[in-house]
């Protein structure tokens, strides 16, 4: 089973912090990969917040293809972060790891954000397509103020490989996943966290309803709902679909993935809407067992379980710094100086929502709405 470590903070933090938290949970993952997503970037990207950052990996040939493509589309390179990798046993280094900030093509600079988001997503998908067959290009995310890093190997060793301990990369929200390779071949696109247009999530547990959900999302006519090298990618897309595409307030994500029983819905003040949603989005019920940690574009971070709650999760911290982990030892590592009695172990009806800058923690209860 994968182990998850997320930290949301008022201050910029190093990606090493969630990685070290993962290390404390090492018994629970087999070290077959590390995925990191950084949001609200500090360090060398602090002044580049409005520029979209393309995160990925490419070969020498892939780099040329990528440069040509970006140039042709009118993107102008503003800044590039290239990790100074160092040899670490067991990790096979690829040619180029990068996070590049681009300026939008001229025609898009004054366009609404939604249009720019679509441009970025189409560009990322095009790059993925260009380099997917020969693995010459991996494009993980292309969005302002977000960086994604993924590699196969033990999380701590991968962090060492990238030199994250000495790099200037910092962020206010960092998601890290220590991968447990079970059903799928070790493939970077199968590695959490997954990201689409400002929405990100990572999950543990196996998604038993994967195929019907994938088929449903694929039929939405939205080009970004693709990939699905992992059964957990659908959680990110359901989040994006419910909040961005359908315009639901965030907590309805819980109602979508783990709908209530008819009698329970009747007691909600928004029963009519919830009943309609349950019917209309029936195919998106996840049926677990999963725990999902996610963030949305405004920097709100959340944790949610399916109704079976067979995958645990815990939230703990202090104002200005909260950790959302799959195990308590992870929270101990990330926020040791906290009042442990106030740790939250969300139950099956709960959704823990932490406001941007880690200011406030709210436990939303699905039964009460």
């Amino acid at each position: 089973m994968c182990r998850l470590a997320a930290i949301t903070s008022k201050e910029y933090i190093s990606p090493m912090e969630p990685v070290l938290a993962l290390e404390t949970m090492k018994e629970g993952h087999d070290g077959s990969g590390l995925g990191l997503v950084l949001k609200n970037l500090g360090g060398e990207f602090e002044k580049l917040k409005k520029y979209p950052v393309l995160s990925g990996i490419c070969s020498h040939d892939g780099r040329q293809t990528l440069d040509d493509y970006m140039k042709r589309r009118g993107f102008r390179l503003k800044h590039e972060w290239k990790p100074k990798t160092r040899p670490v046993g067991g990790i096979v280094s690829r040619d180029h790891y990068f996070a590049r900030a681009y300026d939008y093509p001229e025609a898009f600079r004054s366009r609404p954000m939604e249009e720019r988001e679509d441009l970025l997503m189409h560009t990322r998908l095009a790059l993925r397509k260009l380099g997917e067959s020969d693995e010459s290009i991996f494009a993980f995310s292309f969005y302002p103020d977000v960086i994604t890093i993924k590699e196969v190997g033990d999380p701590l060793q991968v962090a060492e490989f990238f030199g994250l301990d000495r790099e200037s990369l910092k962020a206010k929200i960092i998601f890290a996943q220590g991968r447990q390779n079970t059903n799928y071949a070790i493939y970077l696109y199968a590695c959490h966290p997954f990201f689409i247009q400002g929405y990100c999530s990572m999950t543990n547990g196996e998604n038993t309803a994967f195929v019907p959900i994938r088929e449903y999302l694929s039929g939405r006519g939205f080009p970004g709902y693709t990939g699905y090298n992992s059964d957990s990618e659908v959680f990110t897309h359901i989040l994006h679909y419910s909040v961005r595409q359908l315009g639901f307030p965030l907590h309805y994500y819980k109602d979508v993935i783990t709908p209530l029983k008819a009698a329970e819905i009747d007691k909600r003040s928004d029963a009519d809407a919830v009943r309609l949603m349950k019917q209309s989005l029936r195919q998106l019920c996840i049926d677990g067992p999963n725990m999902v940690i996610g963030f949305i574009p405004d920097g709100t971070v959340f944790m949610v379980h399916d109704a079976k709650k067979l995958r645990p999760g815990i939230v703990g911290g202090v104002k200005g710094r909260y950790a959302l982990m799959s195990e308590e030892c992870g929270v101990d590592s990330a926020v040791p100086a906290r009042e442990r009695a106030k740790d939250i172990f969300p139950m099956k009806y709960d959704m823990v929502i932490i406001s941007p800058e880690a200011q406030e923690v709210k436990v939303w209860n699905q039964l009460h709405g």
């Binding site: 089973m1 079970t182 059903n183 547990g205 196996e206 038993t208 309803a209 994967f210 195929v211 019907p212 088929e215 449903y216 694929s218 039929g219 939405r220 006519g221 679909y241 359908l246 315009g247 639901f248 307030p249 309805y252 783990t258 709908p259 029983k261 008819a262 003040s269 928004d270 009519d272 809407a273 919830v274 309609l276 949603m277 019917q279 209309s280 989005l281 029936r282 195919q283 019920c285 049926d287 677990g288 067992p289 399916d306 109704a307 079976k308 067979l310 709405g369």
Partner: protein, 553 residues
């Protein structure tokens, strides 16, 4: 020495031509006559024969032949009265002296066309081979990577939706103070949807079924809903419904069928203003899996007083529903109008869906319905469905198996992203070999929202004799020896409606447990695994390829 009579019997059939040969044991029979009295087809009759008997009495063998008159039970060698193997004779025999035996080399179909008419019967396709549904296995078992659930402990929600489901993009929702509300000012039509149990009782009419049979099913369904909390619905079949039921609060558990003969609809339409509940749905029958493209038929001998009243027809006349609705001109126009008319009759509060027989053209029908916002679903009835009366050739040779037909339609909806909008109901052969829950689960995983059962529930709830070896299958002539498909009070007295109801409840409760036993190891409990095709495998590559599931051996 033989008497001087003709020795060639070419004008007569030998028993070897008959589908069932009655084995009668002289030594056990006490000549009570029950078997010959009860035989629904008069295939056996008492007879008197003169026999040569050799006896020896005394201390040394002194055989002496004598002639003796003996009463016997003899099988009639007239194909019109051939033994149908129902075994009612065996049931009534106090001494186990008589039993019909299947004759696999029979030539029934060579001879069953007297008077130039083809062989008609009730029942189902005579094909005892393993169906595709029975070949499917559930192979995605949760093992260690995700924990399997406990069928006895976890909460399972085995429910489905009956009715057109609005697409998420069309939902008229607005956010007010961080909460979603249905926008009442919107003119978006929200179609009616029922939450039902995914196994329905399919359409079998009052008329085709005897009063205690239909009543037993209806009572069982009501009990399941009201006492067991299982929202099972049952379809009326074509032929109306008892007037009192139409005006009762139990109507909500019934799907009312309208078919091409419109039988019973006078009474139904008159009852609409007095209905205290809406029916669960309206089913428009365009076809039936057992006899595709053929109309309905209730033979004159079954049209007794009660049936005549409910259907609004004279007694003792053949009631033929035409193969097609007389108003049907095209699916674009007439079917849409029929769906709308039915919807309008109940103020658009009742889901209205068509039922067709399995066919290669099902996808075309489906695509039309997908574009019709009032179409509440599509029921596809596969070739293994049953019927009360049809030509043997229709049952045996016409029709499409349900598995690939259903799968093809579901995948077509997936392509359009409408798999949740238009529920598919699969029927025809569910539980053919008794595997009700497994067949239902397999169809659900292939894409069905619900399944409908007919002959399975008849067999299991009222001990119908019928099988795929043409056993009994007398539903068409009103002579049902179990009292299931007859209007003859002497026959239907044999059936106790309370017992039928009790069995219906038992069957559904058992199926519910078995469904949990299937879903739990697959890790599914909250929502029905519609379209979870990765859970299925089959040991036949051609089937695997056709259904888009994995091959396992």
């Amino acid at each position: 020495m033989e008497p001087a009579s003709r020795l060639d019997h070419n004008h007569r059939l030998s028993l070897r031509e008959f589908p069932y040969i009655v084995r009668w044991r002289d030594d056990r029979c006490k000549r009570c006559g029950r078997c010959t009295a009860v035989c629904p087809v008069k295939a056996i009759e008492p007879t008197v024969k003169v026999m040569r008997v050799v006896r020896s009495e005394g201390p040394v063998p002194t055989p002496a032949a004598s002639r003796q008159v003996s009463q016997m039970v003899e099988q009639v060698k007239d194909m019109e009265r051939c033994c149908v193997g129902c075994g009612t004779c065996t049931l009534v025999c106090p001494n186990e002296a008589i039993e019909p035996e299947l004759n696999p080399q029979h030539k029934l179909l060579h001879y069953k066309n007297k008077g130039g008419d083809g062989y008609k019967r009730g029942g189902r396709r005579n094909d005892p081979s393993e169906s595709t549904l029975d070949k499917l296995k559930f192979t995605r078992i949760s093992m260690l990577t995700d924990p399997a659930l406990d069928a006895g402990r976890h909460e399972f929600r085995i429910r489905t939706l009956l009715g057109r489901v609005i697409s998420p993009e069309q939902m008229p929702l607005k956010t007010v103070n961080g909460k979603l509300e249905v926008d009442k000012t919107s003119d978006v039509f929200i179609p009616p949807v029922r939450e039902i149990y995914p196994i329905m009782i399919g359409s079998m009419s009052v008329g085709a079924l005897s009063p205690p049979m239909w009543e037993g099913l209806a009572m069982g369904v009501a009990y399941l809903n009201e006492v067991e909390g299982m929202p099972v619905v049952m379809c009326s079949g074509e032929g109306g419904m008892p007037p009192r039921l139409l005006r009762s609060r139990y109507l909500k558990y019934f799907v009312i069928q309208i078919a091409s003969g419109y039988f019973g609809w006078d009474e139904i339409v008159r009852a609409i203003p007095h209905m205290v509940e809406d029916p669960a749905a309206i089913e428009i029958k365009y076809g039936q899996g057992a006899k595709p493209g053929d109309g309905g038929l209730l033979m004159a001998q079954k049209v007794l007083k009660l049936i005549a009243k409910i259907r609004g027809v004279p007694q003792f006349v053949d009631l033929a529903s035409p193969p097609t609705h007389q108003t049907k001109y095209s699916i674009e126009e007439a079917v849409a109008k029929m769906i709308q008319s039915m919807s309008m009759a109940w103020g658009f509060r009742v889901p209205v869906y068509p039922k067709i027989s399995g066919t290669k053209t099902a996808k075309a029908v489906l695509n039309n319905l997908a574009r019709n916002p009032y179409a509440a679903g599509l029921c596809i009835d596969g070739e293994d469905g049953g019927t009360g009366a049809a030509y043997n050739v229709s049952m045996d040779k016409m029709g499409h198996p349900i598995a690939s037909n259903l799968r093809e339609c579901y995948l077509d909806l997936v392509k359009q992203g409408k798999q949740n909008e238009l529920p598919l109901i699969a029927a025809g052969g569910v539980g053919k070999r008794g595997n009700l829950a497994a067949n239902a689960a397999a169809l659900i995983m292939l894409g069905a929202s619900a399944v409908a059962i007919g002959k399975y529930i008849m067999q299991t709830a009222s001990d119908c004799f019928g099988d795929e070896y043409n056993r009994c299958n007398l539903c068409n002539v009103g002579k049902c020896p179990r009292g299931i498909t007859t209007q003859d009070p002497k026959l239907y007295r044999r059936l106790d409606s309370d017992k039928v109801a009790e069995r219906v409840v038992e069957v559904f409760k058992a199926a519910d447990t078995e469904l949990k036993k299937i879903f739990a190891p697959m890790g599914r409990s909250t929502e029905l695994p519609i379209g979870m095709s990765d859970g299925l495998s089959v040991g036949d590559k051609a089937i695997a390829e056709r259904l888009g599931i994995s091959y396992a051996c």
